[in-house]
């Protein structure tokens, strides 16, 4: 897979159209790496000249900030901003809503202002510009339900871009009881991903998975690597792996035509 880094681009004297911010999950988590690769395939297909930071990328600091460690967050932010500004980055696309939210909303006042897009927004813009085409392919006619990531939906008001992409796949998009503004969290946000939940009657991801199962969908579409993990675990705990799959919107589009 050909994935140019900013350092390589710089050496060639080139500036990419967009920086792909991979994020920690996208770089290290086995499930999320598949999302990363699916997005790279789509960017290639649309002839987008992109680059990644590679080993120069570091955690945006989101989980540290939400856990209450403002020091660590700002240390991460200032370091990342130095790297991004040195490369004169203007536009960033990321497949992680947490990175998206932090880069878009919390970096500007620390000196890092960029145009930041979630991958579903970016893919939609490619579609509108006619650079990318989406066909139903193998998902044609399937029932798909979309889980709103909190940091994309409520946090930033982006509900339609991912849904518009899914509709293009000639599928039946069905909504869960709680969706869009009222969507239920998967349970991972606010640094919960990295700890055991507090005592209660149920895990949040199981509750959300039950809502997804109620729709009798074939696929749960997600737009966040953490939601993806939580929903995948939820489906496993319900022993429904053979009935329902959890896939990122980018994977749906890439897999539809076997990219």
């Amino acid at each position: 897979m050909k994935v140019p880094t900013m350092a390589e681009m710089m050496a060639e004297g080139k500036q990419p159209e967009v920086l792909f911010w991979v994020g920690c999950a996208g770089s290290f988590d086995d499930r999320a790496k598949k999302i990363t690769k699916a997005l790279v395939k789509l960017l290639d297909k649309a002839n987008v000249e992109f680059a990644v930071l590679g080993t120069e990328e570091s955690c945006t600091g989101d989980p540290a900030k939400r856990a209450g460690n403002e020091f660590l967050f700002q240390m991460q932010a200032v370091t990342n901003i130095e790297v991004l500004n040195a490369y004169e980055i203007k536009k960033i696309v990321t497949a992680c809503p947490h990175c998206f939210n932090t880069l878009k909303n919390e970096y500007p006042s620390l000196g890092g202002s960029y145009e930041v897009m979630h991958h579903t927004q970016f893919l939609k813009s490619l579609l509108e510009e006619g650079r990318l085409s989406i066909e139903g392919g193998k998902f044609k006619g399937k029932r798909i339900t979309y889980h709103d990531p909190c940091y994309l939906g409520r946090a930033n008001g982006i509900y339609e871009a991912p849904r518009d992409l899914i509709r293009k796949l000639d599928v039946e998009l069905v909504e869960m009881r709680k969706c869009k503004k009222a969507g239920l969290c998967c349970g991972a946000g606010g640094a919960q991903m990295f700890k055991e939940p507090e005592k209660g009657d149920k895990d949040v991801n199981v509750e959300r998975t039950e809502q997804a199962l109620e729709t009798r969908a074939d696929i749960i579409a997600a737009g966040c690597p953490f939601c993806n993990t939580m929903m995948t675990d939820g489906v496993k705990s319900k022993e429904k792996e053979s009935e329902i799959a959890v896939m990122d919107v980018a994977e749906l589009i890439a897999n539809a035509e076997d990219l």
Partner: protein
């Protein structure tokens, strides 16, 4: 001697206003205990939000049943209060229905008040049934036991009694009934009193009139002690609400200064502080008590009417965790009241060895939050419980190093290798060859 009732009325009215103003001043003083935060920007946008959310009840109708009933009570409250103006003038000057010279228009006014009064009465009864017979789950959470439950019912009883008194007052007003205009509802009740001598009718009418206005004045002064301040504070609260995207958490400036210093290769960490800086105490990070919160967060606490929409949308609460965003707001208000009373008694705050953290809000509640913003979205009056939770986490982590062990591991990983998991930063691009 005919002026005695007028004098009594004036005394009651001014006493009520005096106590109300005193409570409002206490309220403002308590809110000012909070830290400064600038919400003077974007005035047109703020007015629009206030108009839509507070005046227009936009978020109430997200839940249609409660929403529509609430709009009826809200309209009733505002419109019937026009009648209170007449009552006050009558009471002070010994007139009777001073506005009745308006003729046909007066009939339309009173007629609409009567219809609204009946609708309010019905709505309030439905509210009571929801709380006490249907026992909706969100009114039965642990934080709603005792006073909050009674408070909610007292307010409903108050409103029921006021509406009944208003209708009885009109029904027993012989001259008003004889006008045969505007008595759309009271005309239907009037037959109940048929056959009573005129003097008895007059006594009933006067009693209802007095009880009605005294009831309103008592209610006005009950507000400060109840959860019902939202009828006033919903307006400033929506006006001063956060306008940024919900996902944006503020960057602490005090931390920025320190971080910039750490990153500056020319900074001398051992340098003596500049002239005048020496005396400044180090800034406290995060929130452990109400004085660390900002004034908008404290205004939020007074505005909360404990409807519980936040808690019923909260993923932690829905799955049986201890966290309830409503309780966060109730605790904040209770602690603020305690601090306020401390100041009342001592002139200035005297350390009481208590704090919002631990004495009111437990760590377990704070760590159960997923920061999903469902509570913020659900609130019909733009209260932000999440900001309090996150500010308190900041205190736990930065002042007490008291994060759960797993989160400490996560943070150590970020510090050492730039990812929340123990992977080497040099391996960040390995996926492309896998």
């Amino acid at each position: 001697m005919a002026v005695i009732p007028n004098i009594i009325f004036a005394v009651i009215l001014f006493a009520a206003i005096f106590f109300f103003v005193r409570n409002v001043r206490k309220l403002i003083r308590n809110i000012r205990i909070g830290k400064d935060v600038d919400r003077s920007d974007n005035k047109p946008e703020r007015f629009r939000k206030m108009a839509r959310i507070a005046l227009g009840q936009q978020k109430m109708v997200v839940r249609p049943v409660a929403g529509i009933l609430h709009i009826i009570v809200y309209l009733g409250f505002i419109i019937i209060n026009i009648e209170v103006l007449e009552i006050i003038i009558d009471g002070l000057f010994g007139t009777h229905r001073i506005f009745s010279f308006l003729g046909g228009f007066y009939a339309v006014l009173i007629g609409s008040f009567e219809v609204l009064a009946l609708l309010v009465l019905v709505s309030v009864i439905v509210f009571w049934v929801r709380r006490n017979i249907i026992r909706l789950q969100r009114f039965r959470k642990p934080e709603m036991k005792g006073w909050p439950k009674n408070d909610g019912n007292f307010i409903l009883y108050f409103e029921m009694i006021l509406m009944v008194l208003f209708l009885v007052m009109n029904a027993t007003d012989v001259s008003f009934q004889q006008m045969q205009a505007g008595n759309v509802v009271s005309g239907l009740i009037a037959p109940l009193f048929e056959g009573l001598p005129g003097s008895t009718l007059h006594i009933i009418e006067r009693s209802a009139w007095w009880l009605h206005i005294v009831g309103i004045l008592v209610f006005l002064n009950y507000l400060y002690y109840s959860k019902h301040l939202h009828i006033l504070l919903a307006f400033p609260n929506t006006y001063f609400a956060n306008l940024n995207p919900k996902g944006r958490m503020d960057n602490l400036e005090a931390v920025t200064k320190e971080v910039k210093l750490m990153m500056d290769p020319n900074a001398d960490p051992f340098a003596a502080p500049a002239e005048g800086e020496e005396s400044a105490p180090p800034e406290k990070f995060g929130v452990s008590d109400v004085a660390d919160l900002n004034w908008v967060q404290l205004l939020n606490a007074y505005t909360c009417t404990e409807c519980g929409r936040c808690t019923s949308e909260c993923p932690a609460s829905q799955t049986g965790k201890k966290l309830s965003p409503r309780k966060i707001m109730m605790d904040t208000r209770d602690r603020l009241e305690e601090v306020g009373k401390n100041i009342d008694n001592n002139g200035t705050f005297v350390e009481d060895n208590k704090s919002l953290l631990d004495n009111y809000i437990t760590r377990e509640e704070l760590w159960a939050c997923t920061s999903c913003n469902a509570c913020v979205e659900a609130c019909p009056v733009s209260i932000d419980p999440l900001s309090i939770i996150l500010d308190m986490r900041r205190y736990l982590v930065m002042e007490q190093s008291a994060a759960p062990a797993e989160l400490n591991n996560m943070m150590t990983n970020i510090e050492n290798n730039g990812a929340p998991w123990p992977y080497n930063q040099m391996d960040r691009l390995n996926w492309k060859n896998e």
